[in-house]
Symmetry: C2
Subunit: 362 residues, 2 copies
Amino acid sequence: MPPKAKVTIKDVALKAGCGIATASRVLNNSGPTSAEVRERVNRAALDLGFSFSAIGRALQSSKSMTVGCLVPSLANPVFAEAVQGVQNELVGTNYQLLISSSNYDDKADDAAISTLVSKEVDGLIVTMVAPERSPALKLAHQRGIPASLMFHDPIKGFATSYVDNFEAARDVAQRFSECGHRRTGFLALRLATSDRSRNRYAGFHAECRARGMPDPALIELSETDANRPEKLAAILAAHPDLTAIFASNDFLAIAVQKAARLLGWIVPRDLSVVGFDGIEIGKLLDVPLATIETMPEKMGRQAAKSLLTAMQGGVLEQLPPLPFRFRAGATLAAPRAKSRDDGRVAAQPPSVPLIKTILKQG
Amino acid sequence: MPPKAKVTIKDVALKAGCGIATASRVLNNSGPTSAEVRERVNRAALDLGFSFSAIGRALQSSKSMTVGCLVPSLANPVFAEAVQGVQNELVGTNYQLLISSSNYDDKADDAAISTLVSKEVDGLIVTMVAPERSPALKLAHQRGIPASLMFHDPIKGFATSYVDNFEAARDVAQRFSECGHRRTGFLALRLATSDRSRNRYAGFHAECRARGMPDPALIELSETDANRPEKLAAILAAHPDLTAIFASNDFLAIAVQKAARLLGWIVPRDLSVVGFDGIEIGKLLDVPLATIETMPEKMGRQAAKSLLTAMQGGVLEQLPPLPFRFRAGATLAAPRAKSRDDGRVAAQPPSVPLIKTILKQG
DNA sequence: TTGTATGCGTTATCAA
DNA sequence: TTGATAACGCATACAA
């Protein structure tokens, strides 16, 4: 015989032969109870396989014990790790994670926040296209729902867990400069929907200027082209003067290496590349990737930690940004002394069909 | 002046000067309402910034409009993508995703399911260490909560979205055999907590036998060693007879390439490697990775799709496994004709300190 | 067409 | 020490 679909505290009280208030007191260890009724209630609960309904509780206590989390996409390992960090920090508390993703869509962001709010989350942890322009987020804030941001630069009213993208990018420019690079490029994916990329570009640009280098070439890649090394190769070929590329994430940086190979260029001899994020695989590559190491998991943890204190009535305080670290790699070296045109192609000439493809696409 | 922390339908009714039932009818388009009261209610709702409380609704309708999802870890991109697939399929429905992860822990798995059930999720999508041995999952099933599994082989009572790991692994063995490999190894991470790895090993082992090859060497790597190429190199060095390695995921396969490089071995000349999963980066490598391509996102989508029909009263039906596909790559080739001892090391002799390190650790 | 009253599962108040 | 009852926000049966 299958157990009842729903067994409530009422059933327990009935079976134990007591009032529901008593049953509640026993099961919650709240308030005085006699040993004998305790025995009966516990055994009834066990027999019936009772467990509290979080919904009933939420309604009565007006605490859902739920944290809402919004990220652009879990397909991006950086966000996935951050969410895992949040989750790791939430383990042991009684909070559950309600997740949403927007696929980098502004409207979807706002709708997602609204939904989370209507689910009465006790707190929010979000990364969105434009948190400062989200009516739903503002509403949540007015409603007194504590929120902490991930990956964004600090905004008043919210605590933010982030890495200083501007500074990190300046660091890269500095490394390039110290190696003797002058003409550089910045490669990114979704400049319009990622303040992270924009900040990296800004920092990179600023430091290039500060060092008297020419402004970096800004190269924005479409989502689909990111998976087409030939396309990227064509783009690189169109920028023959660049000696170093700063890619806004490690995946792009690896794609640049591939594209360079297609062109017969050797990294770092013919082109230096530095990535961002510091994914583990970068270390395992034939030519280990130079990159900025960040700590997405810690970022999630920190966001969750601040939020937890805020939800317990504490104040949401802004912590300093998480550290980043330049990871040295074999993809960064001094540019060739002479003009790049001579000798480079000779190293490993690209096949004729490839060149045709490039010309057709470029 | 900040808006009320909570504005309920009662507030709306009051402001609109009508009963709450009427307000409910207007806001839900359920039941007859006069144009005039509709106007008043809508305007009141707008003014007050009213939105329904999902909790009140859930309590009344006994539908939480929430799907519980449990995976071992979001730090594994395969699971993260699958969850994103679930999410993608849920967009447009009114279901929200309640997420949990267990970090590959049996007990945590069970606890997580219990929590999700007490949150009264309307359905479950899970990947766990041992679904067939989870009391909480069984209880959920008895309670009539539809559940669909991801990544596991089918279990009675649940619909499963999966790829046939056994068959895929047989495919790899076949490729090895056709290339002329005989002594092979299977490299995996968490054999005890991953039926996926176990199934891959089983299929690989079975096909090796069927083809008269020696049984593959089973190499299990600890979590930490996976990030230590020197350690892996030492292990490989201890298996000098192997000519091909089947790694249970692409990350490990790439680590094998790194380890081989440390030993001065050239892939695929001295060692062939095939991975599993088919991550995008594999294509971009200097030596593109041969691997089994799978579709985690589709897996999540399929799991969500079945669950949705089940939650709408349909029956949870078992679909055939998702397809896999062998992706050719430059890491697989015929083994060297002669005994591997001669010539191999000469190609690129490992440094003396490295050899010392290996001997120390090995 | 509208409003009142009830119940969903829980906790808290208060009287017994 | 116990139990009846109100309240949480909502939808609905039913009465008006």
